[in-house]
């Protein structure tokens, strides 16, 4: 177990280094002179020179790369070009909002996926199963930038149940969470169905039935816990889609998280901030996946690493 975790952690460090390197090179992909693009043509020569020195763009590229990573280790992400505030502070304001939205989306996804998946697994190849399959096909096929406005039209403008956007009311989170969680719910419900079907044919389920336990007890106490592990892995992997989707969802609902910050930074050509946003979102994804893998291996002794 110890060596497995060590192996997984070493891989994670390598991947993080790769992610930060690609993010570092993003600034160098800007066509022409990034300083000119960021400051505009009317900027004074002195301002340009100052920013160039500030970002270290006048140093050799290897040195820039080293500096970038040295600063990263001390959580020094530089200064936002637009707000002139330290990027670490700007991120600290926004991260809790995205975590809240991601958490709410996960809860919404489970609330939809569990009943759908269980119902489909209990009645495979019936109308119930096909209905669940159709709902999940709809869920993966509707992109969030379509579902979001649709939910706003129906539930905010039409029925007036939830606010259109913003964070003023406690119910403000419902529609963004539903928008972001829909495709996860679709994928999870199929996974829960498949995983449950596999478990339901096991001998301990048959014996539980023979002992006269109620179907509800069998599902809740015997089947679901054993079907949970593969579902947990999918949640870990799908967290990436959730974080990536947060960019568009937060924009639609004016949710003040890191996704909306990314788009604001792009529109203001605040490239250091764009880099920081991409880095934070990707790092969160890698860390969660690494933890899921290690947790998975420690919970289930049958799991090994290839």
């Amino acid at each position: 177990m110890g060596s497995l975790a060590a192996h997984r952690l070493a891989t994670a460090v390598f991947v993080l280094l790769g992610v930060s390197s690609i993010t570092f090179f993003l600034l160098h992909l800007v066509p022409g002179d990034p300083i000119e693009v960021m400051l505009g043509e009317s900027a004074s020569v002195a301002d340009r020179a100052a920013l160039r020195t500030d970002l270290g763009l006048d140093a050799p590229i290897a040195e820039q790369w080293l500096d970038f990573h040295r600063n990263l280790l001390t959580f020094d992400l530089g200064t936002s070009l637009y707000s002139k505030k330290p990027i670490a502070d700007v991120l600290a304001e926004r991260i809790p909002w995205t975590m809240m939205l991601a958490g709410a989306s996960l809860i919404v996804a489970l609330l939809i996926a569990l009943p759908l998946g269980i119902a489909a697994a209990l009645r495979p190849d019936t109308a119930v199963d096909w209905g669940a399959a159709t709902i999940s096909l709809l869920g993966v096929s509707v992109p969030n930038f379509l579902l979001g406005p649709l939910l706003i039209i129906v539930f905010s403008i039409g029925l007036g149940w939830f606010p259109v956007s913003g964070t003023d009311a406690p119910t403000s989170i419902v529609l963004p969470a539903l928008t972001l969680g829909a495709s996860l719910a679709a994928i999870l419900s199929r996974m829960i169905r498949a995983s449950l079907l596999e478990v339901l044919s096991e001998e301990y389920i048959v014996s539980a039935r023979a002992r006269g336990l109620s179907p509800a007890t069998i599902i809740a106490r015997h089947a679901l816990p054993n079907a949970a592990l593969p579902v947990l892995t999918i949640i870990g992997l799908q967290l990436g889609a959730l974080l990536g989707g947060a960019v568009i969802t937060e924009l639609i609902f004016a949710w003040p998280g890191i996704g909306q910050l990314t788009i604001e930074a792009i529109q203001r050509r605040d490239y250091p901030l764009v880099q920081a946003c991409v880095l934070v979102i990707s790092f969160a994804y890698v860390v969660v996946n690494t933890l899921t893998d290690i947790l998975y291996a420690s919970v289930d002794p049958r799991i090994g690493f290839d």
């Binding site: 096929s141 379509l146 649709l150 706003i152 403008i157 890698v286």
Partner: protein
């Protein structure tokens, strides 16, 4: 083929025909008629007019051409590069495979279309940059699949025989490995087309795709969300178009996977 599959195939073929012909057939899609700003659906314009009085239906037909061009180009590039990369590192094995696999891990570590968003943002708007950004994100799915399949196929007897007979490596990969791993790659490509159509629309939605006045479904939906209160019909046309082609392709992909009897395991690694 079942009824659903036939219907889905018909929808996809219809959109492909529209994508191929609309740039030559549809006229006046960018014609601005300010007197008809926000006009609702009518006999002349079944999907209504937008904020500049342009015909939304015509713009949706033209938008199909952007969507399909980007989707097929990105998937074609990704399949070729990803498959070649995956087969190559799995065939060579050892340290090359190890490094190759870690490189794939790095690209997979950027969640969703985040890397494409960042790339499109720094490269600047335009269809070439959209193609580049989406290809850089998409190839790795095929590479992962091709590598996993090649690792198992290269152990088989017929490959060993081919090597013993001195068959050139390129020929072994092309004639003895590729045909055996093609089925899951085709299924993956089908789903990838739907994913790229959504991703392109997503980039356009964020203003990072093709630039106005060229119509793209994503930017039309974005315009629609801006006027949801006064003209909810604006997002309807492009939304339905996007939804119909994506759900049709995903349905076909599902059926194809069942027909080719590919185990789910092929997609998990």
């Amino acid at each position: 083929m079942t009824g659903t599959a036939k219907f889905s195939a018909a929808v996809v073929i219809a959109w492909i025909v529209i994508a191929l012909t609309s740039p030559f057939v549809v006229e006046g899609a960018n014609q601005i008629v300010l007197e008809q700003t926000f006009a609702g659906p009518s006999a002349a314009a079944p999907f209504g007019k937008d904020d500049l009085g342009r015909d939304i239906g015509k713009r949706v037909l033209l938008g199909a051409s952007i969507s399909c061009t980007v989707a097929f180009a990105v998937v074609a590039v990704s399949v070729v590069i990803g498959t070649a990369f995956g087969i190559a590192i799995a065939w060579v094995g050892g340290i090359v495979d190890l490094i190759g696999a870690r490189i794939m891990d790095v690209f997979l570590a950027f969640p969703g279309i985040l890397l494409a968003i960042a790339l499109a943002a720094v490269l600047g708007p335009g269809i070439e940059n959209v193609l580049m950004a989406l290809s850089i994100v998409s190839w790795v799915g095929f590479a992962r699949l091709a590598r996993a399949q090649t690792l198992s196929v290269k152990q088989r007897d017929h490959v060993l025989v081919a090597r013993a007979l001195g068959t050139p490596v390129i020929r072994i990969c092309a004639r003895h490995i590729l045909p055996l791993i093609l089925a899951p790659l085709i299924v993956e490509a089908t789903f990838a087309i739907a994913a790229v159509i959504i991703a392109e629309a997503g980039l356009s939605f964020l203003g990072l795709g093709v630039q106005p006045p060229t119509p793209s479904w994503g930017s039309m939906i974005k315009d629609g969300t801006r006027y949801l209160l006064i003209a909810p019909h604006m997002a309807l046309g492009p939304g339905l178009a996007l939804f119909s082609i994506v759900i049709a392709i995903n349905t076909l992909g599902d059926r194809l996977r069942d027909a080719l009897q590919i185990k789910r395991a092929a997609f998990q690694n």
